[in-house]
């Protein structure tokens, strides 16, 4: 079995003295895990930073085998990793979530494009609000690809398509302001930038609302009962974003 093409490094674990096991998100083969010979060495290690875009070749003798990976670095995520605390946290969370949540060897082309897009925005835009909002959108796409998408198209109670202001924490469907106001304290606020079309830069409070919204469903549906530290890493990111709103 062979595969080759572009990929994004999502996780790297040291294996033995000199090797590493990587998990790569690919456009047409989904999440692939493989052993990188010399992955713990000085030369290959910089190519294995989560978020790096690489050209990879993966091969295994049989389908059940882990597989071997050889790779070349195309674009380093080093500057994002060594940037601000928000940049490091967004990079760490988006790649860790991808590595944790996706089953292996299922193609998710839309998710690959979304993660590549998030990394591009992070590299190209100085304003952290742009890529924190992109992270919220990425999480929504990930949930949708895994079958837990939110329905933000119309109000679950009235069918109205405008003035959607809440999301039901149970049904994960949008609720209009008029229908949801009496139960506002039990609802999750739907941030305006998710309801609005266009590419306006979202304000920090809306981004924080967006992360709380996706966080509720990621914890309930995607990472339920798993990886407490992952969720703690997300809490830290949210705390730092909340600090920006003050």
């Amino acid at each position: 079995m062979h595969w080759s093409g572009p990929a994004i490094v999502c996780a790297t674990l040291p294996h033995g003295e000199a090797g590493a096991i990587v998990r790569l998100l690919t456009p047409d083969a989904g999440l692939l895990a493989g052993y990188v010979r010399g992955g713990g060495g000085r030369r290959t290690r910089p190519a294995l930073i989560p978020g790096n875009r690489i050209s990879a070749r993966w091969h295994a003798r049989v389908e059940s085998q882990l597989g071997h990976v050889t790779l070349e670095l195309d674009q380093s995520a080093g500057p994002l990793m060594l940037g601000s605390r928000l940049s490091t946290a967004v990079l760490a969370w988006s790649t860790a979530l991808t590595a944790h949540a996706l089953p292996e060897r299922h193609p998710y082309p839309a998710l690959y494009d979304a993660l590549a897009g998030l990394l591009t925005v992070m590299g190209a835009t100085e304003d952290p609000r742009a890529w924190c909002a992109a992270l919220v959108r990425y999480e929504l796409i990930l949930m949708s690809e895994l079958g837990f998408g939110l329905d933000l198209s119309c109000c679950v109670a009235t069918g109205a398509t405008d003035d959607l202001a809440f999301v039901s924490p149970k049904s994960s469907q949008a609720v209009s302001r008029a229908a949801g106001l009496p139960w506002a304290d039990r609802m999750l606020p739907l941030p305006g930038f998710l309801a609005r079309a266009g590419t306006h830069i979202a304000p920090w409070p809306e981004i924080a609302d967006g992360l709380r919204l996706t966080g509720h469903f990621i914890e309930r549906d995607i990472l339920h009962g798993r990886v407490a530290e992952s969720l703690e890493a997300r809490q830290r990111l949210l705390r730092w974003i909340e600090a920006e709103t003050r």
Binding site: I49, Q75, L82, R85, H100, E229, E232, A233, R236
Partner: protein, 197 residues
């Protein structure tokens, strides 16, 4: 055919980093041949170390006394603490001989994938040391990895409000490094952190 005791020693040595079954066998043969000059002193040294080995309750370094040799050294600058992930990082920095302050060993780094949380590391002890007074600067000497940088940002966050200056090691072109051989990330970071000549 070796005796079970020799086989056991060989298999124990083969588990050490840098050694495999063949090199472990060579080491065992050497120890058996040089019983007086190699085997017995090695047994003595290992036994002494096993009896006395302890972790410094101040900085987390491993030593045969508590506080460790570095923390007990009166010539050390007690106003600066350099935070490292592992004891091996402390040894590397101290070997360089360019830092005369104290250290703090975290014992790992935050990792979402490995499930390492802040309470698993010596972070509370570090904050207490920074608050104790007398400390003016904390240098975060974390590895240039995603987990290392995440830990550095978390520490900077925790140390906010202690009144100490928090700094971080520079990242860029290594001494003796040729630009042609450096990866894009290192080059980009070096350019970003350029300084006037």
């Amino acid at each position: 055919m070796a005796s079970p005791e020799i086989d056991q020693l060989t298999s124990l040595l083969a588990k050490l980093p840098g050694l495999g079954p063949r090199s472990a066998r060579r080491a065992v043969l050497h120890l058996l041949k040089k019983r007086e000059t190699a085997l017995n002193p090695l047994i003595g040294a290992l036994q002494t170390l096993a009896d006395r080995l302890t972790t410094c309750t101040t900085c987390g370094n491993v030593d045969t006394r508590d506080p460790c040799g570095i923390c007990a050294d009166p010539r050390r600058d007690r106003t600066v603490i350099c935070v490292v992930e592992e004891v091996s990082d402390l040894w590397a920095l101290d070997r360089a001989g360019s830092f005369g302050g104290l250290y703090h060993v975290l014992g790992g780094r935050l990792s979402a994938l490995d499930g390492v949380r802040p309470e698993d590391l010596g972070i509370d002890r570090l904050v207490a040391r920074a608050r104790d007074g007398g400390v003016t600067e904390v240098i975060l000497a974390m590895n240039a990895t995603l987990e290392g940088q995440t830990t550095a940002h978390y520490l900077a966050d925790r140390l906010e409000g202690t009144g100490v200056r928090v700094t971080q090691l520079a990242h860029g072109v290594p001494v003796g490094g040729e630009l042609d051989y450096l990866d894009d990330g290192t080059l980009a970071q070096a350019l970003k952190a350029r300084s006037p000549v």
